[in-house]
């Protein structure tokens, strides 16, 4: 039986994001190593991919003081400009 974190990762895998255009950060790296329980997944995606995702998931974009992100359930895909 999958735990909640595994279910979250399975959900994320379904998005099929291209390799080398995203990285999971926030609490995800702690969860995957069993350091602590986590309940959501923060993912940084490069700007090019973010624009593609905006088209794919219209109306899912949100903003706060610091960032723009696409919220898909418990997964947040956060826009990151590449310097």
């Amino acid at each position: 039986m999958k735990n909640k974190f595994q279910e979250l990762l399975a959900e994320f895998k379904k998005l099929k994001l291209p390799d080398e255009e995203y990285v999971i950060y926030g609490s995800g790296p702690l969860g995957v190593r069993g350091i602590r329980e986590i309940h959501d997944l923060d993912v940084v995606v490069i700007d090019k991919l973010y624009q593609e995702l905006l088209l794919k998931y219209p109306g899912k974009e949100k903003k706060d003081e610091k960032k723009r992100f696409i919220k898909l359930g418990k997964i947040e895909l956060i826009q990151q400009a590449v310097h």
């Binding site: 990285v23 950060y25 995957v32 602590r36």
Partner: protein, 238 residues
């Protein structure tokens, strides 16, 4: 936000086919953000990375021990030292070199090595302990007391007793006497031997000699070969 995201993505850890930011990068980022909600994560990550570091040191030591193992040495150790223990078959100069190189691992590495149960790893643990015992004499005494319960050969026994506490013998003379007195009464003959050999660290003074004579009275008629040998050894020295 994350700086150098291209590098962070390229160097990410691939786990279960997914890209996770390296813990070191995440730690730096969380520290920089300075958000109270991250403080506990920072503590947990530091703790995790610290443990990982010790695990890596242990892996490296084991790699060296495997590479340096020699079947003739192994045969000799099995025959004359520890027939029942797990052994690599590595010569003492190599163990000295390892303990010098890895003493940075501190007490945590000492415990990991000791708990492995392999003869050479235990000897390296004793040697490292001897190099770092000054940093925390109380912790050292606590460890040797604990380790004395896991001794099953004379090589490990004597390495721990003679090298493990040598540097603190002067400042912890009273505690070493007390520990020795206690161990000499143990039912476990290796602990009795350890208790005797521990006394070798003490100064060759008249007062020490009298105390030692008093302590070893309890084991002078001991029938165990390794205890008898230790009694002879201490008598020769004092």
């Amino acid at each position: 936000m994350i700086k150098n995201v291209k590098r962070v993505i390229a160097e990410a850890d691939i786990i279960d086919g997914l890209r996770f930011i390296k813990l070191g990068d995440l730690l730096r980022w969380k520290k920089k953000m300075g958000r109270p909600k991250d403080f506990e994560d920072i503590r947990l990550m530091k703790e995790y990375l610290r443990k990982e570091n010790y695990k890596n040191l242990l892996i490296e030591i084991r790699k060296i021990l495997k590479n340096q193992s020699n079947s003739k040495v192994k045969e000799g150790i099995k025959k004359f030292v520890a027939p029942l223990e797990k052994v690599y078959g590595v010569k003492i100069p190599v163990l000295n070199e390892i303990s010098n190189r890895f003493k940075c691992g501190g007490f945590e590495l000492v415990e990991m090595l000791w708990n492995s149960g392999v003869l050479e790893e235990k000897i390296v643990a004793a040697k490292i302990l001897g190099k770092i015992c000054n940093n925390n004499p109380e912790k050292t005494l606590e460890l040797i007391k604990k380790f004395s319960r896991g001794i099953s050969d004379w090589a490990v026994c004597d390495s721990l007793a003679t090298q493990g506490v040598r540097k603190i013998a002067k400042i912890k003379q009273k505690e070493i006497f007390e520990l020795s007195k206690k161990l000499i009464k143990s039912k476990n003959f290796w602990q009795r031997r350890f208790g005797i050999v521990l006394l070798l660290n003490l100064k060759k003074e008249k007062s020490s000699k009298k105390k030692i004579e008093k302590i070893i009275k309890d084991v002078e008629k001991d029938k165990e070969y390794y205890v008898k040998k230790a009694v002879e050894w201490i008598k020769r020295k004092f």
